[in-house]
């Protein structure tokens, strides 16, 4: 700590603080325009000038100057005010001043400062800027005439997003922010640049002219797409969510969002939302009253174990717990599951046996605290982009060493000094086992590991995985595997990340245990910056596991339920929010099951292709219309309240389940809060939490671990077939599950499915970018747009699974790797 005087006030500040930080810490406001606490100091605008007595009263920028002992600082002498006014006059000189039509008005730093400093005339005269405005993409408008050259957009895109789409181009008075070759913006559209721009240069086009900033009501919420659990501020007017608003103080991510969180909110107020219950009559779905619909459903639910249910892990913890209660106590069935039954196996089976807990042993903030980071599959960036930002910052700012084990390269591979080991698809467990074997062979294991249960069996089983054999199978070099093992073991704090979810059928319990073995063998878990983090796919995937909403005690799992629908074992199927027809593997099988089942009830926001097959469709609420809690992938339990009123004829899933419980003669908790009290009492790690205690900030639910070494079974190596490509299915950056198809933003930039192939395979098949190609496998064929990409190795292809049009599950039957032919 250093002592200094600011405006005659004795204050102290940390040694690393700048004058601006020190002032802010002590409640003294210094105006800024180019400074952002998330970015490195830059000093471009000179709004923050202050006088320091020791520097002979010279005016210096507060945002870049570190404090020193005994500094005497003045922040608002008449001279400084004059200087700041001059800065503003110069900024306004070429500025268009079109506040009446500028969407930033009301939230504009330049406007606010101009008002505050009463700059109502200008001593100088010059022409206004006349830059062409970039309307080339549907999400971000770039009007460089309003730019004040603070550089925040370029810096955030580089420092945090690590895309580097924007930079200063030209020099002197001609300087402006531009893209490559002064071309149109074409990036990952996270909108981070919009969020930090202090003026109206960068604007969100989906919100353009929809409302003025001051007319919006701001509601804090939690993102309803992926498991990162980012916090959101929704801008609401006339009961419609019109935009997301940046709040630099929100969440661990300081207001950063990805393209889905920032631009994917339109599904909430979509005109395609279901508005009334539908009941099938004469083979057509017709509108019905809630009473009628619930009566039919309740009657069908009396079938006991003939009844099965699939729920989406997008429901709240309260809803999932209540649904489970309905099924177990009132219906009398154990057949329920979420995420197709296998997508949670990494947690419910893998981590359960390896760590004795169905949750990850590390948290997202650990990423910034570790020394060494191993990411399995570059897709971790696409599935959890804001976790990706954390990785970017860890590598770029904290010098974390990044190694990636993946079947293709990806954005993370481009980070400084990142090492990507590209193995043959499907061989990740074998490679992880080889790493474990190297750790044992080279005596890199932690001393305590040998005493753990399963050590001897593991050592024996790993004999088959020496680096040379695995290297030959997986297409890696044995030396690289050994080096990775040595680096991981040598790192003080090391963390392993891997994504899981419906498209990642290879990320099973085996993979989870193989990963856990590394952490357990080297003792890198249960400490700060150490552990294994399974990035589960949906916003409440971890919650669904914590609520126990999956097959247990002899209940059928997701895929078994569908099987039983086909062969008559299940007669009534209740699907709450899942869309298996598109998101579960093997469309033909799923379709047959949904057709065969006697009675299908679907509660949904939209008439999805699955809902269209139902006998009863119940219109339910999105996260913006209900209250409850979501548990993020690192087990942060977060509470949110409704941002808008629900439609007159829609109910929350919570209400649906409690009405059904009552119709079946049971008793339901009065409110989500009461249900949460039950959850808190009975769920490991949730003790002491309540809606009230979670109101301001979420809380981590503790994970108690009892480690054990488990032998992970590696799949047999994939045999390459002449003329066929090894297709791996996954997530696209712009989408999450099938829900994002109803968000305009994601659909603007990624409207349809595609298949990514390597350059050499494209050349061999004479395939050019955007060609329509037919992709066929043993189960079927589908037409997809081709993308030719440098990141894909020869012989491999990648396709995202989100799209109802041209669904990839016609060719993908759930194997981690599918052999396909691609032809024009």
């Amino acid at each position: 700590m250093v002592n200094l005087t600011i405006d005659d006030k004795q204050v102290t500040a940390p040694k690393t603080a700048t004058i601006y930080d020190a002032a802010k810490l002590n409640g003294i406001k210094i105006p800024i325009l180019c400074h952002d606490k998330k970015l490195k100091p830059f000093g471009a605008c000179r709004m923050c000038l202050v006088e320091v007595e020791q520097m002979k009263g010279r005016q210096i920028p507060a945002c870049t100057t570190p404090v020193t002992e005994g500094m005497i600082i003045r922040t608002s002498t008449p001279d400084i005010v004059k200087a700041r006014k001059m800065v503003l006059e110069l900024l306004l000189l070429n500025h268009p001043l079109d506040c009446p039509v500028c969407d930033k008005s009301g939230d504009c730093d330049l406007q606010n400062l101009t008002y505050e400093y009463k700059v109502n005339s200008n001593r100088f005269k010059d022409e206004k800027f006349n830059h062409e405005i970039d309307y080339n993409n549907p999400l971000i408008e770039r009007d460089m005439n309003r730019c004040v050259l603070c550089g925040k957009c370029a810096r955030i895109c580089d420092e945090i997003v690590s895309f580097g789409a924007l930079t200063f181009i030209d020099r002197g008075i001609e300087t402006k922010i531009g893209c490559e070759f002064d071309d149109a913006l074409n990036c990952e559209f996270c909108g981070s640049c919009i969020s930090v721009c202090p003026v109206g240069s960068l604007l969100a086009r989906p919100f353009k002219h929809k409302a003025r900033f001051w007319a919006l009501t701001k509601h804090t919420s939690v993102c309803g797409f992926c498991g990162t659990g980012c916090n959101l501020t929704l801008g609401v007017k006339d009961n419609k969510v019109l935009t997301t608003i940046y709040d630099e103080n929100q969440g661990f991510h300081k207001g950063q969002l990805c393209v889905r969180g920032r631009f994917g909110y339109q599904f909430i107020n979509s005109t395609k939302r279901l508005t009334t219950p539908l009941v099938k009559k004469n083979n057509r779905l017709v509108e019905a009253s809630w009473d009628e619909a619930l009566e039919i459903v309740a009657a069908r639910l009396k079938g006991g174990s003939d009844v099965a249910a699939l729920a989406t892990p997008r429901l709240t913890n309260e809803e999932l717990a209540l649904f489970k209660k309905l099924l177990l106590d009132n219906v009398g069935t154990k057949n329920f599951d979420h995420a197709a039954g296998y997508a949670h196996a990494a947690l419910t089976e893998g981590f359960a046996r390896s760590f004795g807990a169905s949750a990850s042993s590390a948290t997202i903030p650990d990423i910034q605290k570790c020394d060494f980071l191993l990411v399995i599959k570059t897709d971790a960036y696409e599935t959890h982009p804001v976790v990706g930002f954390e990785i970017n910052m860890a590598v770029k700012n904290n010098g974390v060493k990044l190694s990636i084990l993946s079947d293709k390269k990806g954005k993370l591979s481009k980070l400084p000094d990142a090492v990507t080991l590209v193995h043959r698809p499907g061989s990740e467990v074998a490679v992880l086992n080889a790493i474990a074997k190297t750790i044992l062979d080279e005596k890199l294991a932690d001393g305590s590991a040998a005493s753990l249960s399963g050590y001897a069996e593991l050592e024996q089983a790993l004999a088959a995985f020496d680096a040379d054999t695995v290297a030959a199978q997986s297409g890696l070099a044995a030396a690289d595997i050994k080096k990775l093992a040595a680096e991981y073991a040598a790192a003080g704090k090391a963390l392993i990340l891997f994504p899981s979810g419906q498209p990642y059928t290879g990320h099973t319990a085996e993979l989870a245990s193989a990963v856990a073995n590394l952490a357990i063998l080297t003792g890198k878990y249960g400490k700060e910056g150490c552990g294994v983090l399974c990035l589960s796919e949906k916003n409440n995937s971890q919650g669904a596991v914590d609520m126990g909403f999956f097959a247990q005690d002899g209940g059928m799992n997701g895929l078994e339920i569908l099987e039983a629908c086909t062969n008559g074992g299940v007669k009534t199927l209740f699907i709450a929010g899942e869309n298996p027809l598109t998101s579960y593997p093997d469309r033909t099988k799923v379709k047959a099951a949904l057709e065969a089942v006697e009675f299908l009830v679907v509660s949904e926001l939209f008439l999805t292709e699955t809902a269209a097959m139902a006998d009863v469709v119940l219109p339910v609420c999105s996260f913006a219309e209900k209250e409850g809690t979501f548990t993020s992938t690192d087990r942060r339990v977060q509470f949110f309240k409704p941002a808008i009123r629900k439609g007159a004829q829609t109910k929350t899933d919570f209400d649906v389940f409690s009405s059904l419980i009552k119709r079946l003669g049971g008793q339901a908790p009065a409110s989500p809060a009461a249900q949460f009290a039950e959850i808190a009492a009975g769920t490991a790690g949730y003790q002491g939490l309540s809606h009230v205690s979670l109101r301001n900030d979420g809380a981590f639910a503790a994970v108690a671990m009892t480690p054990a070494l488990v032998v992970p079974k590696a799949a047999a190596p994939i045999v390459a077939e002449q003329g066929k490509l090894a297709l791996v299915v996954g997530s696209a950056l712009y989408h999450s599950g099938t829900l994002s198809q109803y968000g305009e933003g994601p659909m603007h930039v990624c409207p349809e499915g595609y298949i990514e192939v390597s350059r050499s395979d494209a050349a061999a098949g004479k395939i050019a970018e955007n060609d329509l190609v037919t992709v066929s496998s043993a189960t079927g064929s589908v037409q997809l747009k081709a993308k030719v990409s440098l990141r894909i190795p020869a012989g491999v292809a990648f396709a995202p699974y989100h799209f109802s049009e041209a669904p990839v599950n016609t060719i993908w039957a759930g194997q981690p790797v599918t052999m396909v032919t691609v032809s024009k």
Binding site: C99, P100, V101, Y135, H209, K210, A211, R212, W214, A215
Partner: protein, 134 residues
């Protein structure tokens, strides 16, 4: 005071007025002359064949009666314009704040004061009805 005096005074005033010019207007045959600054029905000013309004939302923001509805759109040249501009005359208090707030001189108040109508719906003046008549 004599109780008769006020009555006599009153009669005197009445008598005097019998010889003065009448102040009553024979409305509707006789029309009042409204002052230039009278605040009657609004009109949207036109320039280059378009409403001048840029849909900045300042008038609905300032309006104390919250009776102005503006919705903005983007035209082919990416310029902002009002797709909806409506004033609910039943709620308007004719304060003129909207005129004062407008940064582009797009709205003014005319001398029009005959605003009676048969249906409530007819008191909602749409953009077309408010556009300055040429």
């Amino acid at each position: 005071m004599n109780p008769i005096t006020p009555i006599i005074n009153g009669m005197a005033i009445t008598l005097k007025h019998m010889f003065l010019k009448p102040v009553t207007l024979q409305y509707p045959t006789e029309r009042p002359k409204v002052a230039a600054r009278f605040r009657g029905l609004h009109a949207l000013n036109v320039s280059h064949d378009k409403a001048k309004c840029v849909a900045c939302y300042l008038c609905p923001t300032v309006c104390p009666a919250k009776c102005i509805t503006v919705e903005a759109g983007e035209d082919a040249n990416h310029d902002k314009f009002a797709t909806v501009y409506e004033i609910d005359m039943l709620r308007c208090i004719f304060c003129g704040y909207c005129v004062e707030a407008c940064p582009v001189d797009a709205v003014r108040m005319t001398g029009e004061f005959e605003l009676a109508n048969y249906k409530r719906q007819d008191f909602i003046y749409s953009k077309e009805r408010l556009l300055e008549k040429k």
